[in-house]
Symmetry: C2
Subunit: 226 residues, 2 copies
Amino acid sequence: MSLPESPLAEPEKPGRAKRLPREVRERQILDAAVTVFSQYGYHGASMDEVSDVAGISKPMIYAYLGSKEDLFAACIHREATRLLEAIVGGIHAEEPADVQLWHGLTAFFGFVGEHRESWRVLHRQSLAQGGPFTEELMAMRERAITLVAAVLVRAGSDEGVGHAASRAGEALAAALVGAGESLADWWLDHPEETVDVIAARLMNLVWMGFGDLLEDRVWKPPIIEA
Amino acid sequence: MSLPESPLAEPEKPGRAKRLPREVRERQILDAAVTVFSQYGYHGASMDEVSDVAGISKPMIYAYLGSKEDLFAACIHREATRLLEAIVGGIHAEEPADVQLWHGLTAFFGFVGEHRESWRVLHRQSLAQGGPFTEELMAMRERAITLVAAVLVRAGSDEGVGHAASRAGEALAAALVGAGESLADWWLDHPEETVDVIAARLMNLVWMGFGDLLEDRVWKPPIIEA
DNA sequence: TCGCTTACCTACTCTGGAGTAAGGCTACGT
DNA sequence: ACGTAGCCTTACTCCAGAGTAGGTAAGCGA
């Protein structure tokens, strides 16, 4: 039962790591950092832990990514960019407003579902720090809000009416984005739900409203390419 | 310009604090702790800072409230209880569903507006910690969701219809509570808005939905005791 | 083969902050 | 008055964890 030197099993030789190009190491370090930060929070996480998870020694992190603060900021930036790209990629301008919204929501929740750690570090951890970290997140949120508001306002002007919606477009978009964020947060603690159920839930809430839902009027996605 | 011993100004004599009963001190310490935790987060906050803000020395905190973890848990518990009491106090069962919802929202946002620090420590900080802190928050959220769900389901059965709303009551309630939480969070970063505007915004979003709002159908609170 | 660069390591230093020991001051009971 | 209970403090101990000094080895071009 004692295999001190099994030559086939190679997980974590505590000795020297294989030489890899900087680019690859940086990605590995960022991945590890996202994992650790999302689990323990900024202050709770230790650089030793990050280096451990990344399978590399601490000085490498300082050499490549700088201080702990720099590392955290880099995490936020990378994950925020990825998320926004996913959302933008899911929306197509030629579709009707509700379908655009639906696809945006699906893309958003899809990303969160497949990158729970990313979302955790983005939404929970970065907000918990007062520092300059939040700015990155805020910038992303602003862009998301602008995106949603554009969809809404365009829908309003298309129909010729809807002054209330158009004028309050930004505000409503903020509310929706907020609702989406916290529903995603809620999802973190209820992983049994599927993406579509979550997305449909929010879609119904924000498009139909309780008033309609009480009368059994629900929103359903249109049948596409049957 | 040098008043080493002004007998009238008495802010923070660094010397000995006045003797006060334990009960009072505990409240002061909790108040200080909420302030500090909300500002720096759990790990970022130091007991020295708390003792400083509380105007008392560190060993007193350990004597009265126990460890840092105990102190934090005590903060969460107190603030969660206060918040839920505020909401329950604002709802009256004999009113129609939408009005109950409206009053609940108003009470909720009213509390958050007047106790921003409480909300910060509750929602942001406690979620950022993975530990047993979250449980207290979760318990409160469960109660809030149950409350909202009860309002919705009752509304559904009153009207005889609304199976969709009734059956999905809990889920929709969760979405609404989530939306409320994050709108409150958003509010922290946009303090210029008033309580009523924020509450009305969410009310419109969840009761009418975008679909209605696009057609200028908005929800307005009924005129009470004109 | 030598030398240069770059990846990588062990093994520290040093500070911030949790938690405590040991003892003063004050008020009230007797 | 004088003890004693309990409020309050200074002044530590001690450890986790950020950041670094200094050195090893692997590839690569001459």
